[in-house]
Amino acid sequence: MPQVTEEAAKRAEEIKNEANEHFKKQQYERAIELYTAAIELDDNTAIYYGNRSLAYLRTECFGYALEDASKALELDKSYIKGYYRRASAYMSLGKFKLALKDYETVTKTRPNDRDARLKFQECQKVVKMIMFQKAIAVEENTKTVAQSIDLRSMVIEDDYEGPRLEEGMVTENFMLELMEHYKAQKKLHRRYAYKILLDIKKQLMKLPTLVDVPIPDGAKFTVCGDIHGQFYDLMNIFKLNGLPSTTNPYLFNGDFVDRGSFSVECIYVLFGFKLLYPDHFFMSRGNHESVTMNQMYGFQGEVKAKYTAQMAELFTEVYNWLPLAHCLNNRVLVMHGGLFSTDDVTLDDIRKTERNRQPPETGIMCELLWSDPMPGKGRAPSKRGVGIQFGSDITWNFLEKNNLEYIIRSHEVKSEGYEVTHGGNCITVFSAPNYCDSMGNRGAFITMTGGDLKPKFTTYEAVPHPPVKPMAYANSILSLFS
């Protein structure tokens, strides 16, 4: 590598100073130009890369910012600002654990730096919120978001015309009004929204991880798959199949939110019915009931836009308590994703799984939410990078071992809304038609009667919705840290 001449170094320094001037005036593009010119003369000075990295952060070029910060640190491991820059870039790219490492490095090198400590703590908060850990909910010393909600401070304005809970309770009237209110694209008052979430959390906390659902002989039961924020299609399901009631029970099998831009409406209707008919309305967790998914695919953005960031955090707590599977009449097992990477999993193993956490990257909880069936036999790594693919023999063995007849799962879009595989032992049901306004698929739901539990399929096309496109709220992760 050619040595940088003294002359070149001097000139580079001058150019860098000029660049800094432009940076101060927020002329970031010009500053980037000049930093680049300085680097061309002298590619050995960490500060040039560090400064350019910051300019890239300001112009939201997080990929470049990351590259430059890394290069700066390569040249000079003690260049503290480099760690800051890189951490910012990581934050913006959603790589929170890596950001935390860099902030940690800074706090270790500069134990008295208040700003460094603040940034580290902020980052830690984010990481704690979304990283996979064994969060034990009923820990005396950690205050949950639920505990910090004060409903009394949320006054209902005089001009609020929306539905109201009756003495804090969901009633049939409330649900009917809520659905009409939502169809007209109106908002539920936050006081009622928060009340629903707090009540739902309490209810879900009492449920086992595997919920046993009894279906009396001859009684109807409906299983729906992914809804993904497609509220108008959800209303259509109720139109086709009747509203939920004690004689028309439903199980929704996860992925209620994200991608579709009416996720808030969907989740409150579903939670509302759950509160109204606790023993006739069931909800299973999907992989999209998690922080990383909600951040990327729009739910978090939608909650923040329609309500507050605090509510988004409360949703995280609530989702952590959703059961992971349902067993119908001890014969049909229903989960969002699929089966397991080991042969000896029993229903008891599922029951014993600690679920109050973000889905981990391996193990029973992960696989319940992420796995996919595949043709053929045996297992294969998942195309998604999480969970596994399982063949027909895996399904057969699992059913035999646990005395079951078949499994129902969701998680994958199907052109007809459903698919029967593994000789009828594994059924996929997906209820979001024309997924993302682009797939053109039909949606489907399964109905069955207690007794034979034979699945019947109803499929349907998408219905029109107001012109809010999918992922409308999935903005770029706001860089609070640059």
Binding site: T59, L93, Y297, V413
Partner: protein, 318 residues
């Protein structure tokens, strides 16, 4: 089905022009996340909402494939070639090539005057862009819709008007006997079939050493294709050339039937499997994709078609 009257077709030109703004902001979004390097796109389009991961990967696949093919063409011709970008929009290929020290004998961009006038403006007022089209011995000539540098030329033209195209090609100093790469990224589909056929035939007639790279929709006959067509129609984009986009075969045929010696067509599912595996692995890590089927469907409905009038260029593949 009623034929649109003239008022409507002016409206749909605007919608077609809007696809450039859309594609450019999608590209900018992907670049910002690190999918590929492009230091120039920011000069042409502002940052907008983050797009879904499958969209970003789709744009990556298309951009990187074009780059690989263009690089190969420049290499096998030793730079003794021309590149013509039809419906170029705010494409930054020229500047990326200059940055990499890859020179060609001529680089011409064609698009609607409504687009080229804006591109001219952005180039004029941005030093980095202007620098790359300037030459010591050659003054950059410009007017409202056109910019003529020594190598780089930007020209406003209506591609459906063959007489205009002929005149502009002449004005751009393109040498018909030099190996010439023609690039069209979602362009032909917006032209009525006979117009695009006419254009392709004319090019094959005039340029005896041509290679055409056409990227656009394919397999429009199925549900996904139907929904795509509908979505575009609601935005005012009538895919007048949709018939050529029925299969990869129809894409090949439209070249073979218009004077091109050979043609090859491959959908993006196939292209994706042929991209350098380290690159695919790298971009797959940038964002977690929650539903693979979305990407697969996207890929199954876009294709690259290459066609040549000179058999040597049949070797320019991934």
């Amino acid at each position: 089905m009623f034929r649109r009257n003239d008022v409507d077709s002016v409206g749909s030109d605007e919608a077609v022009i809007a696809t450039n703004d859309d594609a450019s902001s999608c590209k900018r979004c992907a670049v910002a996340l690190g999918y590929w390097k492009d230091r120039y796109i920011n000069y042409f389009v502002k940052a907008t909402d983050r797009k879904a991961p499958e969209i970003n990967r789709g744009y990556f696949a298309r951009t990187v494939t074009i780059k690989i093919l263009v690089d190969k063409f420049i290499e096998v011709t030793n730079g003794n070639c021309q590149i013509v970008n039809i419906g170029a929009g705010f494409d930054t290929l020229y500047w990326r090539l200059v940055e990499e020290g890859k020179s060609v004998k001529g680089f011409v961009e064609f698009d609607f005057p409504g687009v080229t006038s804006r591109k001219c403006l952005y180039i004029q007022r941005t030093k980095q862009l202007l620098q790359a089209v300037s030459d010591e011995d050659y003054d950059v000539k410009l007017n409202r819709n056109n910019l003529h540098g020594h190598t780089y030329k930007l020209t406003g033209v209506d591609l459906r008007n063959l007489t205009e195209v002929e005149a502009k090609v002449k004005e751009s100093d393109l040498q018909p006997d030099l190996p010439t790469l023609f690039l069209a990224e979602c362009v032909l589909v917006y032209m009525p079939l006979q117009k695009s056929a006419q254009l392709l035939r004319w090019i094959a007639d005039r340029f005896k050493s041509a290679l055409f790279i056409n990227y656009e929709m394919v397999n429009l006959g199925d549900r996904f294709g139907e929904v795509m067509l509908n979505n575009l129609r609601t935005r005012g984009c009538d895919l007048a050339g949709a018939d050529a986009c029925q299969t990869t075969e129809t894409q090949r045929k439209r070249f073979l039937e218009n004077g091109w010696a050979g043609a090859d067509s491959c959908d993006m599912v196939g292209i994706w499997s042929r991209l350098p595996p380290e690159e695919v692995a790298r971009v797959s890590q940038i964002e977690l994709l929650d539903e693979q089927e979305l990407l697969r469907q996207l890929f199954a409905h876009y294709a690259f078609t290459t066609a040549w009038t000179d058999h040597r260029w049949s070797e320019v593949t991934l």
